[in-house]
Symmetry: C2
Subunit: 452 residues, 2 copies
């Protein structure tokens, strides 16, 4: 979120090693504390790699005359653009490339949060536990990503002999994987560390709940159509930047205690900019099939395709102006209706969520960081902190878009129902056809002139 | 799980009040501790209502001459039978009554775990937080139970004008409810209590994950057919009782450190008994349509029905004995095949899970209780502890049965696909029919003699 933080330059690697050794020594001395399970903030604050403004020598010398505020602003700005260009390049590569990127970001986010948990609750003497956390990440990804693959490419999987059992028994395999981890956890319980182990078990599961389930929704959004991710992600970025800019230049009235640098001016400026930006971006993107078509396996052409018959949300529709405005239009001779893509109007709901509720994802992350007395989730992006610092609002936004899409846009898809029928055994397909035929005749929707 | 615990008789209510007052006083003195967020076991251990052998005056005087070990055994035995008869009565009432009971048990389990969390992390000064926990319980139940209702009775809902929007926008409403809670949580953050609040937030969510999601699976199992819940639940109970009996009479070799009273003799005796019991019970139940038929809304008769065409798992099938045994049977003139209901054979897998993996649910619960230095989750059932003490293994078992059922039993149900099609708008139904027709003709499964 848009915050200006004063940061001291620090060199990363050697200091970290030194601190780790010191902390390990301290840990072996303070076994007593371990048993109590009291969180250790000092260890976390010292050891966690924190965001720094240190970038390259060249950039450093170029910026050395600036005040820290401006210095931070410039570095943040540069890396914002680096990220925007990276993002644009991924758009160029296509939806499946973005799925891979989401997958990698998810792993990095998980890593950042688990690292904090392990440092705070000092799990040096539980190496087995860290392995278990990663195992749970693997098992839950196997489950969730598998579900998406089966949902979108089930027909393709059911054609390949080798993959068919994975599709059919996917849930059973996932559950077995999870249960193995669960049994492993129970077996790894050590009397002295019960509390710590259960705390970290909970920590791992809450992290999985936040990161894995939501990134799985992002993947589903991507497969429903590139635009369902690109527009919301851009909205959050736009809101972030504009709230920061408005706050930086006009900010006076504080907004919320959790994030003291946030102001009402930034909040309102951000919201208005996001709505305008969202309308413009949607209107631009909705023109291209590349952005609006879902990624599907095409049974006939036998390849993954992004050609589609546009869904109604992406076709021009005629809207009436509200009653009073219409009367006025009639008076002055203007048209009383306008044509627009429904998606562009839906973008307003998304913009409002992105700028009103979205920031709460950031407040939540801020509160979390304050609770565990850390400044950033990591030091992955210079000037920005960890990946989680940048993606705190994206997760909530993705869930909103997913729910919004499945509630208001996704009509029960005849195409997908058809796919499900075609995955049945051959005689069931015919049986299904006959049952449907009889029902439709009974409902008077079909004449009874058909026989099989 | 089968454990003998020495318990001291204690009178419940007045002592509890007294302790609560003392703890509250202590809490207000030790603000410093609160900020650190160190868990307070003393408070939990003292205040949490713990299981007692105290029952009624009459029973007490009848049992007063017994040694504590036998006394505990008798009380436990009596209340085991009380529970078994209660369970039988619910079976008599039918699947929808069991859904209501599961719902109530789930609320009680949630209450037990949240109470422990609130006591351990001393949340007296966060009354708002307890409300939030219950709100999250409400929101997640609204979501999960709603999903089940829509899945099984969607056609019924879509017929009632008043309920249709709930069915259509169910996910959006659920998400809005959750987001309201999330925003409430962020707004309720108080600087001094950040750590405690985030810890309890995590605690609430892990509890929801364990209790609500899994009890939702139990509900789905019930609706898939009464037998899918009755057999597994009975298996766990049988394994519990038999492992306890075998352990009590023959137990010598300790099994696992977590539960020192568990023995290999109990484990093996329990497993063998459970498999035999499972076979017998399945064979008995599978005879009755009442147990094997799913609960469905019948479109034609316009009521919820439990009549069905039996699924293959409940129809006699012919099995070959293994090769070597077959040769022997041929020699001595015995039949080489046998007829059996597939479900009875599936019951073996369930028995094995119930007796091998099931207990790990109990070990996990034991470890949890040890971690937080409590003896029981509550005092709901005399001689047994809280509801959670009795249901620790049931949750894991229900998830297994759900996954097992959906992987190996539930064939993509033409009946349900048909229901989904019939929920589409009328012209989509016809369009769907034509698409299916063309596909089947293309695949050579249908002659092209039909026209609409």
């Amino acid at each position: 979120m848009a915050e200006v933080r004063q940061r001291t330059t620090q060199s990363s690697s050697p200091r970290r090693e030194e601190l780790k050794a010191a902390a390990a020594a301290q840990a072996s001395e303070s076994e007593e504390d371990d048993i109590i399970g009291q969180p250790n903030f000092q260890a976390a604050g010292d050891q966690l790699p924190q965001s720094s403004d240190k970038t390259t020598e060249a950039l450093d010398s170029a910026l050395k005359d600036l005040t820290p505020r401006w210095r931070n602003w410039v570095i943040r700005g540069i890396f914002t653009w680096v990220m925007i260009f990276g993002f644009a390049f991924i758009i160029y590569l296509g939806p499946l490339a973005l799925v891979v990127v989401v997958f990698m970001l998810q792993i990095k986010c998980f890593h950042e949060i688990i690292t904090i948990g392990c440092l705070v609750y000092r799990s040096y003497n539980l190496p087995w536990f860290r392995v278990l956390s990663w195992y749970f990440l693997f098992a839950s990804n196997f489950f969730f990503f598998g579900e998406s693959v089966i949902e979108y490419f089930g027909l393709l999987l059911s054609r390949t002999d080798f993959l068919r059992p994975f599709a059919t028994y996917h849930r059973f395999i996932s559950f077995s994987l999870y249960v193995a981890g669960f049994v492993g956890f129970v077996c790894s319980l050590v009397k002295k560390h019960y509390l710590k182990q259960f705390t970290l078990f909970g920590w791992t599961h809450v992290t999985l709940l936040i990161i894995v389930t939501q990134s799985h929704l992002i993947v589903q959004n991507i497969l429903e159509g590139f635009i369902w991710v690109l527009v919301p992600v851009s909205m959050i970025i736009c809101n972030d930047i504009m709230a920061y800019m408005f706050g930086f230049f006009f900010g006076k009235t504080p907004l919320i205690k959790l994030s003291p640098k946030k102001t009402w001016e930034g909040f309102i400026g951000g919201a208005v900019s996001t709505i305008l930006f969202g309308l413009a971006l949607s209107y631009y993107m909705v023109q291209y099939d590349y952005f609006v078509c879902p990624t599907r396996y095409d049974d006939e052409k036998d390849h993954i395709s992004m050609d589609c018959e546009r869904s109604p949300a992406f076709l021009l529709a005629e809207y009436n102006f509200p009653e009073t405005l219409r009367a006025f239009c009639k008076l002055v001779g203007l048209p009383q209706t306008f044509k627009m893509y429904p998606f562009v109007l839906h973008s307003i709901s998304m913009s409002i969520f992105a700028s009103v509720i979205g920031p709460f994802g950031g407040f939540f992350a801020s509160g979390f960081k304050r609770a565990f007395k850390i400044k950033d989730f990591g030091d992955t992006i210079p000037g920005h902190g960890g990946i989680m610092d940048r993606f705190d609002c994206q997760f909530l936004m993705a869930t909103f878009v997913h729910v919004y899409h499945s509630s208001f846009i996704k009509i029960p898809n005849p195409q997908k129902l058809l796919q499900n029928i075609l995955m049945l055994p051959a005689d069931d397909q015919v049986r299904m056809f006959n049952m449907l035929h009889d029902k439709l005749v009974a409902r008077g929707l079909l004449l009874n002139n058909t026989a099989t």
